[in-house]
């Protein structure tokens, strides 16, 4: 069972959260005219074995978006921050 340490609510069960998206993906600049950056942004993802950053939503809690480090191999949970406070 995954337990996530929400910066607002504290340590909570995974069932209170929903997975959002890959948090390592950055949107290309709006004036980007090449197709490949947009193709990668929309469709292509790495499939890392180990630590990965993900967006999770604390939907049954404070309703904040979080950036969470999760080990895809062990489900170990690392740092968890409010997405609004994460700088690129």
């Amino acid at each position: 069972m995954i337990r996530i340490n929400c910066p607002v609510c504290g340590l909570r069960n995974e069932t209170e959260f929903t997975y959002g998206a890959d948090a390592t993906v950055s949107r290309p600049a709006m004036d980007e005219n090449e197709m490949k950056p947009w193709l990668d942004y929309v469709f292509n993802r790495t499939n890392p074995r180990g630590w990965h950053k993900e967006y999770w939503h604390h939907v049954q809690g404070c309703r904040q978006w979080l950036v969470l480090e999760r080990n895809t191999l062990t489900h170990e949970i690392g740092a968890c921050e409010l997405a609004r406070e994460v700088t690129e």
């Binding site: 607002v8 609510c9 939907v59 049954q60 409010l82």
Partner: protein, 189 residues
Amino acid sequence: MAEVLSPLKSKCVAGHHGASEKSGLKMGTRALSGLWQIAGWDDFESAAQPVLSSLGLKDGGTFRIAQHADGATAWRIAPDRILIETADPNLENAPELMKLDLSHARSVITLEGPSSRDLLSQLVAIDVTPMAFKPGEFFQTGIHHVGVLIHCLNSDRFDILVPGTWASSVWEALYENALPHGVETLEVA
């Protein structure tokens, strides 16, 4: 004008249910005097302060402990959001805030009795023992996959704020799990 009825009106019929030899808890509802959510942006603290001060509240409190003043209770539900129960929110002096009237969007389920904590521990994945969940504290979590706010009023009394559209479902989840404890349902006041 249409009369506003509690979504729990049909549930709150006085009676005793479940284990006949004991009454572990009482379930009921109460009317909200008025429920407002205020929200803001980067300058939320300073924008919210005049509203809180006018209600006699020192500040927005913490994410864990509710703030009380005469006729007002405030729950800090997110970094830039506070839920306030009050009949008179006096929000005119806060133009920078987003104000949302939730008075008819939430219902309150009241729990009281020695088995209240036992019932909650069956339904939420949070430590609700007296040492971990003390009077004055609150938390937001899910019951029956519905987001709720549970406020501990004293050692065995709790208010559960539930979205009105899901109040009936949450009531039934609580009620079904309360039956082995013996439950007394209270008439709507």
